[in-house]
Amino acid sequence: MIATPPQQKNTSRHVKLIDMSNYLMSNPSMITTEPSLSDLAAASGIEARTIRSWVAQGLLPAPLNRGPAARYPTDTLERVLAIRAMRDALGMQLAEIRKELLVASQEQIRGYASRAQGLAPVPRPQPSASSALNYIDALRAGPLAAPQSAFLMDEPLIPQSLQGFDALEHRLSQGRAPPARKARAEEWLRIPITPDVEFSVRAPLEAEQRVRLERCADLIRDILLGRDR
């Protein structure tokens, strides 16, 4: 058995800022230990597809990098469990959950997450000799049979008829000469702090820089809500 590490002094906010700056300096591209989508799904009992939709809705932080090997910030599992508890145990709507997550302290989120323990799946028992076969059968038969579909869902669909931006462009350009090309798109990241305050930062940002800014947003939220002492 592994000995349980002793409790450390709670300096997590300060520590994480230092960690991040050090991480940036030392080696931003090394493999990180943050959970992947499948880790989160396995540990929380929530389908990967649902977790992705929660990310898209801003309930969870965006992954630190892109692609199927994407990793999420370390405290994401706690948030997933907290959302699950609020939804399944407390019957809250996603809009309410979003507001609650914006103002909840880390301790409160942990409290919600602990309520999900009873809902979380029990650890998987040791596999039996037939479990490999069961897995392959499920892979061939079930939704796993098209495992990349969750990612494909984000791909834009080819419109059958004009709609969305195609329709908009078509409508705007009707009867007008092509304009001089002046507008240039810029990418900005939006970090909600409270329901009334947000951070807007020009992209691109390194994933680590984004995490640091999110941490800053958390600190600002604590100050705004009088929790900075």
């Binding site: 592994i2 300060h14 030392s26 090394m30 959970p35 490999a132």
Partner: protein, 436 residues
């Protein structure tokens, strides 16, 4: 019942860190297996599936060599072993289904092998899945064996499931259920990232076979590895406190859950020690604060049976004042292991950038890595060679490399950092020889 055992040792390169935080320290964990070297008749039975790429690019020497390798495997197996053969191009075809290698089975295998002919595009996932399925069916009937899939491919998968992460995840899921996957990359056109990811997650090995004759060498070598392994599916677990950030350095499939990192180490052979390096980003704290890391490991007996656990160990990191931190000694052997893992990781990333046509980024990346690595390497016996290799690669990584160079640099860094042996009779040139 097995008497094999698993030995775990672990320690830090330096045992103190600065009280103000930001120190980077490394944990080096070493896993080795011990046990009586079993005579051939006592070795675990093998339940092996060969999944062989027969897409059109395999035509000629490569398909001939794959046939010869498969024949050699059929000859080398005994009546206690089972062999499945799957040919895959755009679809997967079962040529031989978990046949015991007695006289009749061997004859059936040789007939099946003769039917390996080159044809269309590559659906690697379906080929691998069918192979795993045949192994799983035989496994359900007789669990007491070493259950393995060996994937031979020369190409880029372009049909069916092609996502690397997805395929590797399934390989990992089947490993948890007892089926090991290794891969042989044939020629210069295979997808080393895909085959590497499958082998890492699948608990097996990645072999590079640039020339046709090398296919037989590595396939038979892998077969012997299946016979000789003392522990299979070895997993290393490190518990870290919440205020310490840890990451695995090197090509190891790993899962990070809050407070625990699990690394799939794979099979352990006699006299083989596998080293896994973790980079730790240390927190701040009062001088004298100790941070405990718990390290444990487990695996399975190669006959598909008992779980084998290693005695767990602890590593202790202490936060100290600046002067004490600066003057501390460090463990030279562990520091060299860190350098090896670090260099291999940097090489892999540089190869990826070179392949993506971004030589400039690769050069800058290695420049930056060298800036951090040089001060770390000072005073470590043996580290200069690693630095020199990286400098030689850095000078040339901006050029467009041919595929063979990429494959060899990738495979060499992969094998070095995973403590795996190159099974070819004539291993490729060293990095220094290649780039000097």
């Amino acid at each position: 019942m097995t008497n094999n055992s698993l030995t775990l040792t672990a320690g830090l390169d330096r045992t103190s860190a600065w009280e103000d935080g930001g120190s980077v320290r490394y944990l080096v964990a070493e896993l080795a297996a011990e046990g009586a070297t079993t005579p051939r008749t006592d070795a675990p039975a093998l339940n092996l599936a060969l999944a062989i790429d027969v897409s059109s690019s395999m035509a000629g020497d490569k398909i001939d060599a794959a046939r010869r390798a498969a024949r050699a495997v059929a000859e080398a197996l005994t009546e206690r072993d089972r062999l499945s053969i799957i040919a895959f191009d755009s679809r997967a075809e079962l040529l031989l289904d978990a046949c015991a290698m007695d006289g009749a089975g061997r004859a059936a295998a040789l007939t099946a092998i003769a039917g390996l002919v080159d044809r269309g595009s590559t659906n690697l996932f379906d080929g691998w899945l069918l192979a795993a399925e045949r192994v799983a069916v035989a496994m359900a009937a007789s669990p007491q064996a070493s259950h393995r899939v060996l994937l031979l491919s020369d190409g880029q998968t372009n049909r069916g499931v092609t996502d690397r992460g997805e395929i590797a995840r399934h390989a990992g899921a089947l490993l948890e259920r007892g089926v090991i996957t290794s891969a042989v990359g044939i020629g210069d056109g295979y997808d080393e990232e895909l085959l590497g990811a499958i082998a890492e997650a699948g608990g097996g090995n990645l072999h590079d076979a640039g020339k046709a004759p090398e296919i037989g060498e590595v396939v038979l070598g892998e077969l012997q590895a299946g016979r000789a392994a003392l522990v299979e599916r070895a997993t290393l677990r490190v518990t870290v406190p919440g205020n310490l950030r840890a990451e695995v350095v090197g090509p190891w499939a790993n899962a990070a859950l809050p407070g625990v990192i699990e690394v799939m180490v794979g099979s352990l052979m006699p006299e083989q020690t596998k080293r896994v390096v973790f980079r730790l980003h240390c927190p701040s704290g009062a001088p004298g604060t100790t941070i405990l890391l718990g390290i444990s490991a487990g695996g399975a007996a190669p006959d598909g049976g008992d779980a084998i656990e290693a005695g767990s160990v602890e590593a202790e990191l202490r936060l100290v004042r600046g002067a004490e931190n600066s003057s501390q000694a460090r463990d030279a052997a562990r520091s060299l292991s860190v350098m090896q893992a670090w260099q291999a990781e940097a090489l892999r990333r540089a190869v990826r950038m070179n392949r993506d046509g971004d030589g400039r980024a690769a050069r800058h990346f290695l420049e930056r890595e060298l800036r951090w690595m040089e001060p770390y390497a000072r005073g470590i016996p043996g580290a200069d060679i690693l630095l020199a290799e990286l400098i030689l690669v850095q000078r040339r990584v901006g050029e467009e490399w041919d595929e063979r160079t990429r494959k060899e640099v990738y495979a060499a860094s992969h094998k070095l950092s995973r403590s795996e042996r190159d099974l070819r009779s004539e291993p490729p040139r060293s990095l220094s020889d290649r780039f000097r």
